[in-house]
Amino acid sequence: MTILEMTGVEKRFPGPKGGEPVIALRGLSLAIGEGEYVCILGKSGCGKSTLLSIAAGLEKPDAGRVVCRGETVTGPDRHRMLMFQDAALFPWLDVLDNVLYGLTFVEGLTRREKLARAEDNLAMVGLSDFQRFRIHELSGGMRQRAALARALAPDPDILLIDEPFSALDAMTREQLYADIQRIWKETGKTILMVTHNVREAVCLGERVLILSTPGEVAANEPVNLPHPRSMNDPNLTLVAAHISTFLQG
């Protein structure tokens, strides 16, 4: 079943003073099935982040439409959670309260059930011992874990992830690649992730959509390697090399 469908989505931004408008997305179409892990790969400036903002409902497309579970997207709501490049955790709350914030608008849960759910999600990302830590006391990797827990806790239909690992060091990143694959398997969540890192896309995605500049889907490459995958798998390097040719061309 298709969870998220974007058809003919266009987005332009006003250009620098008096200049031509900048085209971020040009008639982009894609469909993400339930439980899929799809990575969108593109150079910087190809409209990747705009695509996620529109999918989340934070921005409106100039043309085209976005449908989530059969309903047209008109604005943001907690069924499509967006994870930001820098974790965007609230520094005035501790880790647990940040996760609880994500549960504020989930109906039908008592205070106690929300607490239990927040704790479960923090346990899943390995932050059980850090519930009462303040945000500035966490490392970059831990922040992204906390942000992941916050995004997962409301049990969204789809998780939209915007280059979450780009600011992290290589070792932290590899640990998070393993963790996110495990969490994806455990929760069965649908994930749409944007990245400019070819190997990262190949390591995580079941398929890789390659975005041209300006934003159109130029290719749809399945990655037929079993999960969990490791960045150091030579087969992965071969697929990555193959996909790189699309980006250069």
């Binding site: 709501d77 499509r80 609230f90 520094p91 994500g102 608008f105 303040r134 500035h136």
Partner: protein, 252 residues
């Protein structure tokens, strides 16, 4: 506490030197009283209750005036943020009035309110309101957009965003503005008390003023010491702990 020791030594040496200079007759006691004379004045004024009743009156005025100024500043700050029209008109006025020394409001206060408490409050409010409003507006504008986007994705909107994101995110800067506003309020009140005479209820500003009229330099210097100590105490007892709390929880 380690930091207190050099401070104590330096002040002690300074006071001893001052006392010595007074005893040796280097300066006339009419122009500059000795530290002991100042202490004697403070002790006497404390014992017969004048100092404390004046301090009570002053702090009461400060509290009322500052709360009014802070609430008004908060409200005006929100308006400046929300309305471009207000920003281009009132905002400009606020920027200008912020630079107006608060004693300049005293003549108007007397003409409008007479020699009443209202005149005191008016000067304090006018002294603190504008700078607080400008800080509040800047603080709200400086809230990173990403927090608002994150909140909206999680389903928050309208006043919930304001209450749970904009306000807490802007709080450190708003408190910075409140602290600056307090300094302005304190100065304004001293100006008002020296300028506006209320016979039945006098504050420490008036005590200072009477000291001048009586040529009682021990009183003048003594009251100045009290004013400095009040300023220091408020900073240490109220603003420093708040600052420390914010730094501990947010790491900045």
């Amino acid at each position: 506490m380690k930091k207190a020791i050099p401070a104590l030594v330096v002040f002690a040496v300074f006071l001893l030197f001052w006392q010595y200079a007074a005893d040796a007759g280097w300066v006339s006691p009419i122009l500059l009283p000795s530290p002991l004379a100042v202490c004697r004045y403070l002790f006497d004024a404390g014992r017969d209750g004048i100092l404390f009743s004046a301090l009570g009156v002053t702090l009461g005025r400060l509290l009322v005036g500052y709360i009014l100024g802070a609430l008004g500043g908060l409200l005006l700050g929100f308006i400046l943020y929300a309305s471009p029209l207000a920003r281009n008109t009132l905002g400009l006025a606020a920027l200008g009035l912020q630079t107006l020394p608060s004693v300049c409001w005293a003549p108007m206060a007397i003409l409008w309110f007479g020699q009443t408490e209202g005149a005191m409050y008016f000067v304090v409010v006018m002294g603190s309101l504008w700078s607080i409003a400008i800080s509040v507006e800047t603080a709200i504008r400086a809230v990173p957009d990403i927090y608002l986007r994150a909140a909206r994705v999680m389903g928050s909107s309208g006043q919930h965003v304001w209450r749970t994101v904009v306000f807490p995110a802007a709080l450190p800067q708003i408190l910075g503005g409140a602290k600056q506003g307090w300094a302005f309020a304190w100065r304004s009140l001293m100006a008002a008390e020296i300028y506006v005479a209320i016979i039945r209820r006098f504050g420490i500003g008036q005590l200072l003023h009477f000291g001048r009229e009586l040529n009682a330099m021990d009183q003048v210097v003594g009251v100045m010491v009290v004013i400095v100590i009040v300023g220091l105490l408020v900073d240490r007892a109220i603003f420093l702990p708040v600052d420390k709390y914010l730094r501990r929880t947010r790491g900045k």
